[in-house]
Structures are given as C-alpha cells and as structure tokens.
C-alpha cells in the first residue's frame, strides 16, 4: 500500500513498530514506532510524557518527508521508546 502511494509520487512516512519488515518490503521512509498495538506513543508513560513522545514521533515523520532518500531509510524519534 505504501509503495502504491509512492508510485503515485506522494512521499510516505511509514510509522511502524515492525520497522525491520518495513525495510525488507522496501518502504522508503520508515519511522520507528513504539510497539505493534500502540505505534504512536506508550501507555506505560504518564499522560504528559506519552503525548510528548507522540509529538516527537510525528515530528520525526515530518522530517522524514523532507529528507531525500535513495532506498529504505530508518528515522528514529529522539525520545527513547519503551518497547
């Protein structure tokens, strides 16, 4: 699905906890998600930290859209994730 969107000329930042698989199926801009049942955030954190982590993940995804890449590239959010 990600590939079809890219073929149409739309850059995709794929946020996923299964990033090694995303690399294997050759998605191009991959953002490291926290965990399979909760890619954007971590329920083990306080509400405030969880929201901050989510913001950091989305900021990383926006940066990924601005990055020129030549093939599968992994972008890691700066805040350490729980998973």
């Amino acid at each position: 699905m990600s590939k079809e969107l890219e073929k149409a000329g739309l850059p995709v930042a794929l946020i996923s906890a299964m990033f090694p698989v995303a690399q294997q199926v050759r998605a191009n801009r991959i953002v490291k998600g926290v965990s399979i049942p909760h890619p954007c955030g971590d329920p083990n954190l306080s509400k405030e930290l969880d929201a901050r982590l989510r913001r950091e993940i989305i900021q990383t995804a926006l940066r990924a859209l601005e990055a020129e890449v030549e093939g599968p590239t992994l972008f890691s959010p700066a805040i350490a994730t729980g998973g």
Binding site: P11, V12, A13, I36, I57
Partner: protein
C-alpha cells in the same frame, strides 16, 4: 529416532490469543498444542524433543533476545530438522517463522520446514532469503487447512531428516525460493532454446529455464521541501473508526477503505472511536485512539506552525490491515492515492500496526 523441534506462536501453543501476544520465548519438553498434532502426523517416525513458543508481538519487539533464546533451546535439543508453523495467513506469525528458520539454518546448518499461505508477508521474506536449507509449504488461508498442512510438513520433515534428495519447488510442491539448480540433460542449450521458441511461435505452452524476476521496487517519491507549507494527510491500517463501526469493517481481510472527517476536531475522545482489527490487541487503541490516529500531536504541531494552517487534510483514511492480500492492498493504495491527489495532498503519514 529422528529428533524434531517445533516452533509455534502463543496461540498454537495453547497459551492464549491476542491478549497473550506479548509472551516471551518459552520451551516445553516434548510436544504441546499444535506440536502434538504434528507428532501424530509424524506417525512414530520422528519424535518432537521440545516445543518452543513465542508471542507474536514479543518476537517482533524483542527480536534479538528472542532469537538468542530460541537458538540456545534448539542447540540444546540437537534436532535433525526444525519445524515452524503452519502460520496460514497470520502475518506476524509467518514472519517470525521465516526469521527463526533462517537463523537456525544458518547457525546450526540443519534444514527447516515451515508452512503458510502464499499471501502471507513471510513468503516475501522467505524468497528474499533464498536459503537452500529453508522449505516453505503452501497452506490454506485459515486453520481449516491444518490437517493437510501437518501431513505435508511431516512427509517433508522425515525425508529431510533421512537425507533424501529434495527436488525442485515445482516438482516437490514447496514455495519456490528463486534458487537456480544445476541439472544434467542430454540436449544442448541451443536445441532447448530453439525448441522453446518453436513452441512459443505455435502458441504452445513452454517453461523457461530462467524465469524473470518480477521486481516491485518503487523508487522513493521525491522529498518535500518546506513540509510546513505542504498538504499532508494521515492514513492508517490500525482500524481506528468511529464508535459503532458504521461502515462495517471486518477484523480481517477487508476489501475497501473509508475516510472519516476530523476537520472540526482537536483530539479523538476515547469512547467515541474504536479499533476494528483482528491482528493485535486493540485495548490500548480503544483507551487512546491517538496511538493509531495521532490527531492531538498533529494539532499541537499545527498550533506551532510545523504544519501550516489548513494544511492537514480534513479527513483521515483507514482500512484495518489485518490479513489484507497484497493484491487488495495494492488496489487500496492506488485508490487512496488517486483520491488524495485529486484534493492536492502532497505527503502522507501512514501509521501501521
């Protein structure tokens, strides 16, 4: 007596479903769960020394640790053949089977047998590994194909353990790995090529000796300069939909997508949304739908100017991705792309579970 080790997920070990997908690696002496049925299929010709189980989420979230523990357990059991699965159309399970088998085959130099449906994403990785010690048998899409799958696994496993010569994928029925095999023939290449050409000219069926690799490698779409001035849309396979699931998505194998309006919303209120997806534990997503549709973060970045005013598309796109066949997901991707381009969207955030 031939010794076998069987690797299964938490479900097929009989330990529980999605709520137990976080279980770490465990080792049970002898056969348990699906391994018991495999032992029956082996009909006394081989013995299952131990059953190793690992949670579907745990494996992918702690891959290095999981593989290390599994390798230690397999080394201790000294099997002739490792069996993993059958995984049918379960994506996480299929992928962990392939990765475990590949590691065991490389480190311990023993053959490994697994089984799954041909649409399982594990099959793509299996082809990519092209490891001559790995054999993956095709199965039905669901557990309904269990008996047949186990009997075929048993037959191949016994032959491998005995050191039988295993023929080509076409002849033996396992899924092709893209490995070229050397074979002796009494006809030279020029004769075979001309014979093939004549068959082709006469519209007769022919088999190439060198099937062309079909690459589906999309070159990266160009980057967006100044992302804050660009139209951005959110797409998700998490299955987060308005409470009550108005468009009747199924928990697996969906064939259509929908978009839901978020133009007036600052955040997604828990209780007004739910996650419909049979492939992961949706409890967290139901408590806080932002884990799949991070609208709170997007609005906060919008307020700061990292996303320009009005630049976030007023709806998000969703399809529960569980067991989506590659063919359907390709079509869905094309349809969503067409819809987004019509509305001038330039970049996509895709949240995948």
């Amino acid at each position: 007596m031939i010794k076998i080790v069987h690797v299964v997920n938490q479900f097929f070990a009989g330990l529980g479903g999605e709520e137990k997908a976080g279980l770490p690696v465990g080792v049970i002496e002898g056969s348990a769960g699906a391994a018991r049925a495999l032992e029956t299929a082996l009909g006394g010709a081989a013995k299952i020394v131990c059953t190793i189980h690992v949670g579907d989420n745990y494996f992918h979230e702690h891959k290095e640790a999981a593989i290390k523990t599994i390798l230690d357990a397999v080394r201790a059991a000294e099997p002739e053949v490792l069996v993993a699965g059958p995984a049918f159309n379960s994506g996480r399970y299929g992928l962990s089977c392939v990765e475990i088998c590949n590691e065991v085959a490389n480190r311990m130099e023993i053959p490994c047998v697994m089984a799954m449906h041909e649409d399982n994403p594990g099959v793509g990785v299996y082809r990519e590994f092209a490891n001559s010690r790995l054999y993956c048998l095709p199965t039905a899409e669901t557990i309904a194909g269990m008996t047949d799958a186990l009997s075929r696994i048993a037959t191949l496993t016994i032959r491998l353990a005995r050191g039988d010569e295993i023929g080509s994928a076409r002849k033996e029925g396992y899924i092709g790995r893209g490995i070229r095999r050397l074979e002796k023939t009494d006809q030279r290449g020029a004769v075979r090529a001309l014979d093939m050409l004549l068959r082709k000219l006469n519209n007769q069926p022919f088999e190439s000796e060198l099937p062309m690799e079909v690459w589906d490698d999309a070159p990266p779409a160009p980057a967006l300069a100044q992302v804050k001035d660009r139209n951005i849309a959110l797409v998700t396979t998490s299955g987060v939909v308005p409470w009550g699931n108005p468009d009747k998505f199924k928990t697996y194998r969906n064939t259509y997508w929908r978009k839901y309006n978020i133009a007036e919303l600052k955040e997604l209120e828990p209780g007004k949304w739910e996650a419909v997806h049979g492939g992961y534990n949706v409890a967290y997503m139901n408590q806080n739908p932002h884990y799949g549709v991070p609208l709170d973060a997007l609005r906060s970045l919008e307020a700061e100017g990292a996303i320009g005013p009005g630049k976030l598309y007023p709806a998000y796109y969703v399809i529960p991705g569980n067991q989506g066949s590659p063919t359907v997901m390709r079509r869905i991707g094309q349809e969503i792309a067409a819809d987004l381009k019509k509305d001038g969207v330039e970049g996509i955030l895709l949240v995948a579970t």
